[in-house]
């Protein structure tokens, strides 16, 4: 206690004076004059204490922090001057034309807020009647391709200006013309009267006298003459040549034309290697003409024989198919001709052909039937050898088909290319007569046969100019590139069939207004024309040359507006009677040539796929992703080989995710490529097939380095390019290569998936016949043997409202489906389905909402072997099987297995029969997909719109490509399930339209993307509760539901495939 002394400062402290104690506690002795700053009253009434202060600080800090985390502001700019006709949220449709140089389609373009987002065929077209290929449908994506030229290019110095480019090119062209050399203008097929007129203007600008050397056969100069002609010489070169066919017609009819076929009039069709339902000539027209005669209930059904090397889309639709070697095309035709000649009473020459799948008998059969259908048949040949084509002409003439099914007066203006132009051009360059080359729409460096020497020749030319929309293997070698616009940004006209004029109109302002200029304007500019505006040029050309051909409209403006609105005008006169009278036979020469054709070792047939075509659209990821209808492989080309041959040679026949294909080195035509070998049942033994259009090196990030270029292997003999090559060596390298196939199992395993029968059974047997019923209704038997149709067996009560209002449904006619795949890409585009690329496809993770399954028949089919089932044998397709196609999308089951299992009710049933998917609600358990018997549900495995793995392939990852996205359909995030919605956005739009007009929805008014793309009528959409086409079909005897026995009650049904067979064929 002693140390606890207290010291004090003052007596007041010691005494504990109250006043002292009060002041001692304060820090400042004098009071702080707070009241001077804040009024006394306010200070008193303020109840804020320390704790409240801290609360306010905390709140302010928190609020300020939250305010800083603002969501990104996306500025949308409203129309200051709203264009007339454009309403946000309302689509505008424009009639136009699609022509990529090799195929044509009349189209309708859907634009939303001024940007084209969807293309479908124009059903009102006289030519294509709505027919469109996958390439046509996907072409809208090519518009938004970042790889397109965006400014004029100069070899030295890169980008340049139009003024500089025009000045330099014009000066140099004049120099060339002045030097007496020619300017070679190489184009592909143009088929556009006004473009031809523009070219003519260009040619005329270089008119003048020049000295021309004369050459002997060996190319030695023997003299010179002076002529008055344009320095500009036209060369028409097509990547896929039909030059031989034109040459044959020139010989037989004196006209270098292609005839106009009408397959809808042909009762018997024989095709030798012509894939006329997919890529051959004007397939967009032929396809719906053909399928219009495939209805087994129609007046008659056509009968189709196909003789070919590779299994093609056309071949898989045939009633009778025989595989033959490329070297036997001529012989098969000759034998057919011979058989027919015998019937006609004359004799001909016959040849032996390899008969391992009864080709000889099938030819005899074809001859018999052709003879019976004289004047109503067609024989077509896919070979580019004029001798083959002459025999085909000979047969058609013998059968009297000219004037009935084949029209020579109304010619087809596609594929005008002349293969002699190839050698003429290379010779001209090599002989130093050509001073400049202008490449317009051609890419000879990539697609000319190696044997033509085009690539080496081009490198010698002093001035190379390209007019091109996008870079390719040839434009990158050019001194100048004048960028062209996309066809959706351009005016143009086409006369694809004589007298049928089509128009193309811009549906969007030029995406690169400063950098691109329409090719025709460029040519007019270089011609020094006063008016270089192509629209003015086009209209004045129409006023002068086309308006005058008709008398219906008296004013040009009215004529023009109607034609533009319709996208076409038909001025064909039907008075001209077709003639076969002027036929000059060339059979003896042709047969002599054919007799020299020999089979030699392995043979190679080059072909084009419906997706990639000739390869010019290789940078379009939708087309790369689209699986080939037959092989079901995407993102590659490959060697197709018969599995029987593959087993002999030790190749892997059953490629799958982790079972890569074996690589083989193919040596053909002096050229070598190494490609994977894949099994192609139906391929002729000892032959292989390779698709053209691959191996691009300058196409763009999506198209470069995919597959190998096989153009170089095409043969180049007697002036024509040949796509069948003999004496090929195929050597296994021992290495393997991963293949991305969307389907790895190829047979139906004896199940009723694609229901198929022949016409005899169809006509004579009841569908539910106990023994031979061709479309039995699944029944449930109870213990007493009583049978209840599956349709009446029910675990659940019916969906509420199922019988009220609409019940949307779809019917798919397997007879009308050729498997072309236009619906697949159409669906892809309309529903913003992500592109996932090769590796994901290989992992069975394609995102297609609509797929077309392809099945081969197997020798072990239980229908063939008294119902005995040998499953492991059934897994192997026959060496020469039939193939069938089946489009499968969400079946919109009324008792959907997916709906019951979703824990969060993200997939539900609508009152109108839709099985709906609420993406926002989906948590991604994938249970619905597992429980779907059809496996049509697609899971977003990654964030396809941002994940770097998909940058090269997914167009929605760049600002330009994103413009193709359909604004009506949400882009799905990762981790959610998606699937076919039956284009519910279009259904809603159609219903709204009808409601606004105060009327019920009309049948056919609402189209899904797939049904819109299918001009064959295979896919029909409509209201099952109404008197509609789809309702009629759903109750037809051919109708069946896929996996009906599972009891899912789908709203999608299929019509049994009926082949035109008697059931007793060899």
């Amino acid at each position: 206690m002693a140390n606890e002394k207290t010291y004090w400062n003052s007596l007041e402290q010691l005494n504990g004076d109250q006043a002292f104690l009060e002041t001692a506690e304060k820090e400042f002795k004098d009071p702080i004059p707070v009241e001077e700053f804040v009024g006394k009253q306010e200070f008193d009434s303020n109840t804020t204490n320390r704790r409240d202060f801290l609360k306010f600080v905390g709140f302010s800090l928190g609020a300020a922090t939250l305010a800083a985390c603002e969501t990104p502001v996306i500025k949308s700019i409203p129309y200051v001057m709203k264009p007339e006709e454009v309403y946000p949220g309302v689509a505008n449709w424009y009639a136009s034309s699609y022509m990529d140089g090799s195929e044509f389609a009349s189209i309708l373009v859907k634009t939303r807020e001024g940007r084209p987002v969807f293309i479908k065929g124009n059903r009102d077209s006289n030519i294509t009647k709505g027919g469109i290929s996958a390439r046509g449908v996907s072409s809208v994506l090519s518009l938004y391709d970042q790889a397109r030229y965006q400014a004029p290019q100069k070899k030295e110095g890169g980008e340049t200006t139009w003024a500089e480019l025009d000045a330099e090119v014009m000066m140099k062209l004049k120099e060339v013309a002045a030097s007496g050399k020619t300017i070679a203008l190489a184009t592909n097929t143009i088929a556009s009267p006004s473009t031809e007129a523009a070219i003519k203007t260009f040619q005329d600008a270089f008119m003048g006298e020049r000295s021309v050397n004369e050459y002997d056969e060996n190319g030695e100069v023997v003299g010179a003459t002076t002529i008055t002609a344009s320095s500009v010489e036209r060369y028409t070169i097509d990547p896929i040549s039909y030059s031989g066919m034109r040459e044959a017609n020139a010989k037989n009819f004196g006209k270098r034309v292609l005839p106009n076929y009408d397959f809808s009039k042909a009762k018997v069709i024989v095709s030798v290697g012509a894939d006329f339902l997919s890529t051959w000539l004007n397939a967009n027209s032929y396809s719906n003409q053909y399928t219009s005669r495939r209805d087994p209930d129609g007046a008659w059904m056509n009968r189709h024989f196909q003789f070919e090397t590779n299994m093609s889309v056309t071949g898989s639709n045939a009633d009778v198919r025989a595989a033959i070697k490329p070297s036997e095309y001529g012989k098969a035709l000759a034998n057919l001709h011979n058989a027919l000649a015998k019937m006609a009473g004359t004799s001909g020459k016959s040849f032996e052909i390899d008969n391992d799948n009864n080709a000889a008998e099938k030819i005899q059969q074809a001859a018999k039937e052709l003879w019976a259908a004289k004047g109503a048949s067609i024989v077509v040949c896919g070979s580019n050898d004029p001798n083959h084509q002459m025999i085909a002409n000979e047969i058609n003439n013998l059968l009297g088909n000219y004037g009935s099914t084949i029209d020579l007066n109304k010619s087809l203006n596609l594929s005008q290319g002349n293969d002699y132009n190839l050698s003429q051009l290379t010779n001209g360059i090599n002989q130093d007569r050509v001073g400049a080359v202008i490449l317009y729409g051609v890419n000879p460096v990539y697609n000319a046969p190696a044997a033509s020497g085009m690539t080496e020749a081009l490198s010698k030319v002093g001035l190379k100019v390209a007019i091109a929309e996008r870079p390719d293997e040839s434009t990158v070698l050019c001194d100048y590139v004048a960028p062209d616009v996309n066809f959706l940004e351009a005016w143009n006209d086409y006369e694809v069939v004589t007298g049928e004029y089509s128009l193309a109109q811009p549906v969007i302002k030029k995406l690169f207004p400063a950098g691109t200029r329409q090719a025709q304007s460029t040519l007019l500019r270089w011609a020094g024309a006063e008016n270089t505006d192509y629209y003015t040029f086009l209209t004045s050309n129409w006023e002068k040359n086309i308006f005058t051909k008709q008398s219906k409209e008296s004013f040009f403006k009215a004529f023009w507006n109607t034609s533009l609105h319709n996208g076409m005008v038909s001025l064909a006169s039907s008075s001209e009677v077709a003639d076969g009278t002027t036929f000059t036979s060339g059979a003896s020469d042709a047969l002599a040539s054919i007799s020299k054709e020999k089979s030699d070792g392995w043979e190679l047939q080059l072909y084009t796929k419906t997706s990639i075509g000739d390869g010019r659209a290789a940078n379009n990821p939708h087309l790369q992703e689209m699986p080939d209808p037959i092989s079901r492989i995407s993102w590659d080309n490959y060697i197709t080989m018969n599995p029987a041959d593959m087993l002999d040679q030790g190749y892997e026949t059953r490629t799958a995710q982790e079972t890569p294909a074996h690589l083989a080195k193919v040596l053909a035509g002096g050229q070598e490529v190494t490609l994977p070998v894949v099994a192609a049942p139906g391929q002729k033994r000892n032959t292989i097939g390779i698709a053209l259009g691959y191996g691009r090196t300058e196409a763009g990030k999506a198209g470069n380095g995919i597959g190998q270029n096989a153009y170089s292997m095409s043969t180049f003999k007697s002036g024509n390019v040949g796509y069948g090559v003999t004496g090929v060596s195929v050597e296994k390298t021992g290495e393997t290569y991963a293949i991305a196939s969307i389907q790895t199992h190829h047979t139906m395993m004896g199940r009723k998936i694609v229901n198929e029968t022949n016409v005899t059974t169809y006509k004579n047997v009841d569908r539910s016949d106990k023994q031979n019923g061709w479309n039995p209704i699944p029944v449930l038997k109870n213990a007493f043997g009583e049978e209840t149709p599956m349709g009446e067996v029910d675990l659940w009560s019916a969906q509420p409202g199922i019988a009220r209002h609409h019940l949307w449904g779809m019917s798919i006619d397997l007879n009308a489906c050729t498997g072309c795949g236009a619906c697949v890409t159409s669906c892809h585009i309309n529903n913003n389905v992500p592109v996932v690329g090769k590796d994901e496809i290989r992992r069975t993770r394609s995102m297609f909402w609509l797929r077309i399954d392809r099945y081969y028949t197997s020798d072990a089919d239980p229908n063939k072997n008294d119902g005995e089932k040998n499953y492991s044998e059934m897994e192997n397709p026959s060496a020469y099987p039939d193939a069938v196609f089946q489009p499968v999308m969400c079946q919109h089951c009324n008792h959907a297995p997916c709906e019951t299992v979703c824990p969060v009710a993200a997939t539900t049933h609508s009152d109108e029969g839709f099985n709906q998917m609420a993406y926002n609600r989906c948590v991604g358990t994938r249970y619905c997909a597992n429980n779907c018997p059809y496996k049509v549900r697609r899971f977003n495995w990654f964030n396809y719109n941002a994940d770097p793995m998909f940058t090269d392939v997914n167009p929605s990852q760049d600002d330009l490509g994103r413009m193709v996205l359909n604004p009506d359909v949400v882009v799905r995030s990762r981790g959610v399930m998606e699937k076919c919605s039956l284009c519910i956005q279009d259904v809603q739009a159609g219903k709204l339209q009808a409601k606004k007009e105060g009327r019920p929805v009309k049948d056919g008014e609402i189209q899904t993307a797939c049904s819109a793309a299918c001009a064959n009528g295979a896919i029909v959409f409509g209201d099952l509760n109404d008197e509609t086409e789809v309702a009629k079909r759903a109750t037809h005897g051919r109708s069946y539901a896929l996996l009906e026995e599972v009891g899912t009650r789908p709203n999608v049904s299929y019509l049994t495939k009926v082949r035109n067979r008697s059931g007793e064929e060899v």
């Binding site: 993770r845 499953y871 358990t925 597992n930 059809y934 977003n940 981790g975």
Partner: protein
Amino acid sequence: MHSEAAIRKPLILGDKDYHQITEDVCAPVEGKANRLWYIAFSIALIVALWGIGCILYTIGRGIGVWGLNTTVGWAWDITNFVWWVGIGHAGTLISAVLLLFRQRWRMAINRSAEAMTIFAVMMAALFPGIHMGRIWMAYWVLPVPNTFGSLWVNFNSPLLWDVFAISTYFSVSLVFWYIGLIPDFATIRDRSQKALPKFIYSTLSFGWTGNVKAWIRFEEVSLVLAGLATPLVFSVHSIVSMDFATSVIPGWHTTIFPPYFVAGAIFSGFAMVQTLLLMVRKVVSLEAYITRKHIEYMNIVIVITGSMVGIAYLSELFISWYSGVEYEQYAFLNRATGPYFWAYWAMMTCNVVTPQLFWFAKIRKSFVMSFILSLFVNTGMWFERFVIIVTSLHRDYIPANWSMFHPTFVDIGIFIGTIGIFFVLFLLYARVFPVLALNELKSILKISGENFKKQQH
């Protein structure tokens, strides 16, 4: 009153007295871990971290990093889920069902079996979460009030039943386990010298006093919880099986699934208990408590449930043939002879053939053989789920969709990773929890201990 014949082998060997039991059980908690523990823990931790890395990668990138595809939408994820749930069955069965049946031998093993259950169910619960495409929306599967309008969960969905079944099972198992732990925690608390452990264990023991009243209540609660837990043993796996049984996929759509899955779960649970206990009794020196007798009893359960599973397999085959359904017949033929035949025969061998060796007493009583065969069963049961899930999906109705499943390193990483996490938890448990129900054990020392029996005779 319970009494035992003198010739019956005692349940606790080694002349233990009450104190010795306390010492034995508390030793790992109070002492320092041995080297073996550290090695095991390090390995488990590394594997666990690898697994966690794979899980985070999946969540960051998308389910696409797994080997799943459009046809096979579930594979290792749900296989692992069902496997872990199955393993999580034995604990509750041992503690609840055997309690009701008064099988006192369970007392030596129930604590660890229950711990295993808890950890296994935790591992199982991980998979339905991470297999979701959008795990951040996982709470949507719970019927919680929400701002989405009247949006509710889909009570038709077996996955939702799963959520309820698993969460109920987990909660009840956890409570049951914890109640049992309270007196033992109190024992450790009372023995603790240091402040921190004392604080922790006194918190954990909820102020247990150990008076008679408390013990009476303890017994009553145990009985009530056992009664509650028993139906859960059967319900959980029945409901898990309904994920498959209520679907339309051939090979899944099978009415036999609920009993078959429950038998399989008990089978695999006991096998896992066997595997763990055979290790634990060595590592933590509990040979006196976990005796040959326990191992033998569990082997008997294994051979019985294994035979039930075998019968189920054969019934499935018979029914698929008898059904006359094309798809059903093919599904089972494909299992046995298709591309995944190896998985099927691995399952058949490990689950049906090898457990039959337990009919031989010598094998049944052998520690080494029991350990090896328990590993076989663990493997076989994993394959069983793989066979059910993958081979049914990969070739279902439409042949054009048929495909194969190929796991990626992430699939494998996550599976191995969960084994790592499981062992990390189990090893930590073995260090800080009383691994035997020491207070309960003392109750059988009186009647079934060696000393007691000697005194009696």
